[in-house]
Amino acid sequence: MLVERHPETAAASTLVLRVADWPGHLAGQHVDVRLTAEDGYQAVRSYSLAAPADGDQVEVTVQRTDGGEVSPFLADDLADGDAVEVRGPLGGWFVWRPETPGPVLLVAAGSGVVPLMAMVRARAGASRAPFRLVHSVRTPDDRIYGAELRRRVAEDAGLDVTWIYTRKAPDEDRRGTGRLQPEDLAAHGWPPDFEPTCYVCGPTGFVEAAAAMLLAAGHDPDRVRTERFGG
């Protein structure tokens, strides 16, 4: 049941759902959300969990897909108190556990930051593993969780966040615009001999490119975990 919704960007909203008997979950896991129409028609989509569970409340962040069947309904139309079916937690590979030692590199494009944000939030207070997040966005307005990440960085020496802008950068950003480059990961990631665990999430083209850059830089393929969405 929806208990709260707040906008993250013009295109993305976070939904807080109350799920009876929620067993808890790991950062990086996802849920299947099933919607049923009055005549029995059903549609199911997977969404990454955005934060550790708060009792029986879980958060997902939904990026509206233009013309999509499910995401515009969830992001705009679902009202407080409305019921959806949630199955999960699902997925046991693209996860980070607070007891895992060693540095972590998070690389995301667009709403691919959602499961990585769950890791950033799960780390706070539970682990001292140093985290670096590189997030590729179109414009400054597309920084999902931007304000919270800036606050966390200011309070926490163990967390660094870099935004890569593909269309429009803030005036003070000296990098300018353009897709993620190997130099970006060299400057803002970890060297391979630090043996970071790398999590890469985003659209297929981005994940293929970023994972290939990490391998070319010398990262062990066994420490690069990927999650791709879209075509």
């Binding site: 049923t36 129409a37 059903q42 549609a43 009202a79 997925g91 994940v207 066994d222 791709r228």
Partner: protein, 199 residues
Amino acid sequence: MSIVTRGFRGRREGADDRLPPGQYLTHDFPVLSAGPTPVVSRDEWTFTVRSEGGERRTWSWAELTALPVEEVTVDIHCVTRWSRLDTVWRGVSLDALLEDVESAADFALVHSHGGYTTNLPLEDLLDGQAWIAFEHDGDDLSPEHGGPARLLVPHLYFWKSAKWVSGIDLLVQDEPGFWEQLGYHDYGDPWREQRYQGD
């Protein structure tokens, strides 16, 4: 029993009796992999069948493609809920690869370059149900879709169709593969919606 979500109508396009329950139709070809795309050249590619008795049989790329090549048109169904209809593949039937292998095994554990594994009953690889595929829709299979060659078992969810396939172990006892150890179904029949363990 399902809970009705107030106000939800859905779009219902792509409804088709060739779509298993819970699937939607897509026309592009999404990529799902747990890690980076391994780069495997045809020169170094091999495919090895190992029987439960330890007998090994290995094919090089040249040996594989010298076997009779079949063209098949099949529907494919990914556990992440997309389906594609009438996809065209060229490859070698597993019947041709397994016909000379002496085995009483009931199960298969498929291995990939890069370490991926998946398990399925051996009988699901036989009788014209499975191929080592190396061409898709008229082109060489691209690395992100499993090239140089992948397993193709279209009657099961597509994670069983291991990309970058490197070999098959024939086993007397079932042994769960990569996703199967992480909560996904041992068999994975899309028509019975066997997505996760317990389905």
